[in-house]
Amino acid sequence: MFNIVIVGVGGQGTLLASKILGQLAMNNGYDVRVSEVHGMSQRGGSVVTYVRMSNDAPLYSSIVEQGQADIVLAFENLEALRALPYLKPDGTMVVNTQQILPMPVITGATKYPVDCLERVEAAAKTIKINAVEIAHECGTYRAANVVLMGVCAKMLPFSADEWHKAIEQCVKPKFLEVNINAFDRGYNFK
């Protein structure tokens, strides 16, 4: 069983990531539950998506709770810090090293923690990647989510071919090539 939490800021493309993961798990005969966020928080708020997959015990809840996540996939530094409690003690944090300032920081009501990533790294096994830059090199910064999928792929028991297939099933044909490239860059990230 794998519990994955995807966190980010509304509009960053976390829903595509969960869709690919869900499709992949289903293709491989896993039971799967994905819990998405729609509505108000999609307007630039914190968004959390849960993906659970199992090929042994049955799944009931669609929610990953504190201390249950094998992987947290964070699209933004502050959201990574916020999501730390989700991780199991031996879980892995994959973080896209991007900073998006929340409004209370922009207005000066509070400060963005300068040591955000250090705190994440001190608390958990962490893989940092500038997925936006890599995606940009692949053709569009919007594919950052798929770069992160590539990093995540190394921790899950599915072949690169299976991932490619799931991506093909989830993205529009005209964006397939850029997404496959983005995935491969993430997959080969060291």
């Binding site: 819990s35 108000m40 307007r43 708020g45 502050l78 409690p85 920081v105």
Partner: protein, 575 residues
């Protein structure tokens, strides 16, 4: 074939397979994707209605005339639709009719935590409560059978975690049903007192019959396990109970109302200690206790927010209850108006003029958050207009001069028309601002009667707001571009000052539906005096730096509001 479907997609699929012919809905989180997906099946006529009341009336008309029908809404939508619905349970249907109502425990995207089961009971409608996408599809088909067998509209209640969770669903074929014969039946379908006295007797008898049959309905099922602990549950709560208390015996209620008394008594007798675990109100618990059966539930779980497995486990096996996720010291990230949002300029002007703002339900509610902090009230769809009018009538014309009602085009079509008519009719001198962004924004961009496109994106008749106001006898209707701050301020000043009713249409399409974003702005650090004027509008694309401000080119869409506020010409389109 199996597919990974959202609960809402599965409901749409269920409608398709059940042979539904007509579907009407108003968008509302967490229900919106149901009708969006119904619209992908050409076999079903689907539409966006201006509001939920109309949607239920359309569904009722279709059902009475012999076609299986569907209406979908969020929980508060049923309040709007309560009028037709509470009498539809008397008239009954002909072909099956289901009203899907999506509750939002935890208020992810809603203004309250009302429990639809309570309204269903008040209206004497049966309620189904699924726990997975597969059940969303299967139960919906059962709902149509119940509707036809017991001659009543049925409520299909989901919650956010069911509506917006993807789980595996086995697809089946559509069953094409012929239209049922329609015959005039005045005693049944004309809700005059003399007729409805008879129908009320029928409602009572029907409910008794269904409650009896519920004892053997397969979707109410006992899962015997350890008999020390028994749990009665349904919906999303069932999932959490199965994870938190894997050894407990469970009575899962697929039909939430009417409740199967004999089955519950049998279950209660079979376990040593009985618990009722349900999201929101103590709906089952109160009834079970009223039957003299000892149980506990809300004393452990409370009525606030969502249930989770750990919350339940903490009560039963002493597992540590999860602490709050918002660790102190980590800045919150509330939702914001998007870069380029036309509402931003509007709220900036209203704030500058220090007006009392009765706002409404939509993206523009976000104008209440800092730094704009520009909203006094927001209650329900359309309330902006009624409340502004009430303030005027309570406090006089002086109040009207410093008050505006603000609501979007879709909200205006939903529930604003009648409020505006009331203002015109009752000699208001107030000012109503329609923030017309040509779309239903917050729910994810659905077309509406004011934008000229239907649910399929096909062109159709568009409401002409200006002419509508004119027809109501409103003399002063102004149209203004909210990106033109000077003009907007001038118009708002003039119209609030005026001792007559006026409508300002603040017209500019939603930034997210504009296909070609403009050129990003940049800050010229030589000219920037670091005065902070541009920061007042709360644009997420602008941030303070050591020396001034910086514009994030990946977020900026070039609306230029910041440049209009800058006195030093420091903000300009990227060369």
């Amino acid at each position: 074939m199996k597919k990974l479907l959202l609960g809402n997609e599965a409901i749409a699929r269920g409608a398709y397979e059940a042979g539904v012919r007509v579907s009407s809905a108003y968008p509302g989180t967490p229900s919106t994707e149901i009708n969006e997906n119904v619209a992908t099946y050409p076999e079903i006529y689907s539409e966006w209605a201006p509001n939920e009341k109309v949607a239920v009336e359309v569904a009722l008309g279709a059902a009475v005339s012999g076609a299986r029908s569907l209406a979908c809404m969020k929980h508060v939508g049923l309040n709007v639709a309560a009028d037709p619905f509470f009498t539809a349970t008397y008239t009954g249907v002909n072909a099956g009719m289901v009203v899907v109502v999506a509750d939002d425990p935890g208020m992810h995207s809603s203004q309250n935590e009302q429990d639809t089961r309570m309204l269903a009971r008040a209206s004497h409608a049966p309620v189904l409560d699924p726990s997975s996408s597969q059940e969303c599809k299967d139960f919906l088909k059962i709902a149509y059978e119940i509707s036809e067998k017991y001659d009543t509209p049925v409520i299909f209640r989901v919650t956010t975690r069911i509506a917006h969770a993807r789980t595996l669903v086995e697809l089946e074929d559509r069953v094409e049903l012929p239209l049922r014969e329609y015959n005039r039946d005045i005693k049944k379908y004309v809700s005059m007192p003399a007729n409805m006295i008879g129908r009320h007797l029928y409602v009572e008898e029907r409910e008794r019959r269904l409650a009896e049959d519920a004892n053997t309905l397969p979707i109410n099922k006992i899962e015997w396990a350890d008999r020390k602990v028994g749990v009665i549950t349904s919906g999303a709560a069932y999932n959490y109970v199965k994870e938190a208390m894997p050894n407990a015996s469970v009575l899962k209620l697929g039909l939430a109302y009417p409740m199967p008394r004999k089955l519950i008594e049998e279950f209660a007798k079979g376990v040593e200690k009985l618990y009722v675990i349900e999201d929101m109100e103590p709906f089952y618990e109160d009834t079970i206790k009223a039957w003299g059966i000892e149980c506990s539930g809300k004393d452990l779980t409370g009525v606030q927010g969502e249930l989770f497995a750990r919350k339940i486990a903490a009560k039963f096996d002493g597992a540590e209850e999860a602490g709050p996720m918002n660790t102190p010291g980590i800045p919150a990230r509330p939702p914001v108006l998007c870069p380029g949002c036309p509402h931003r300029g509007l709220y900036h002007v209203l704030g500058k003029l220090k007006l009392t703002v009765c706002s409404d339900i939509g993206c523009y509610t976000l104008g209440a958050l800092p730094p704009l902090s520009g909203v006094d009230t927001c209650v329900c769809m359309g309330a902006s207009i009624g409340m502004a009018h009430g303030m005027e009538k309570a406090r006089g014309h002086a109040q009207a001069k410093k008050t505006v009602a603000v609501l979007g085009d879709s909200t205006f079509c939903h529930s604003g028309l009648t409020g505006l008519l009331n203002m015109a009719y009752n000699r208001s001198v107030g000012t109503v601002i329609v923030a017309d962004n040509s779309i239903t924004g917050m729910t994810g961009h659905q077309n509406n009667p004011a934008n000229g496109y239907d649910i399929h994106g096909e062109p159709t008749t568009a409401l002409n707001l200006e002419k509508l106001c004119e027809a109501m006898g409103i003399q002063h209707v102004r149209i203004v571009d909210p990106f033109d701050l000077k003009e907007l301020e001038k118009v708002v000043r003039e119209e609030t000052e005026r001792e007559e009713l006026s409508v300002i249409i603040s017209r500019r399409p939603c930034a997210l539906i504009v296909k070609q974003p403009g050129v990003s702005f940049v800050c010229d650090s030589e000219k920037c005096r670091n005065c902070g004027m541009c920061m007042k509008i709360g644009c997420p694309a602008i941030r303070k730096t050591e020396t001034g401000v910086a514009v994030d080119p990946t977020q900026c869409v070039g609306c230029g509001l910041c440049a209009q506020l800058c006195h030093f010409g420091a903000l300009n389109p990227e060369a």
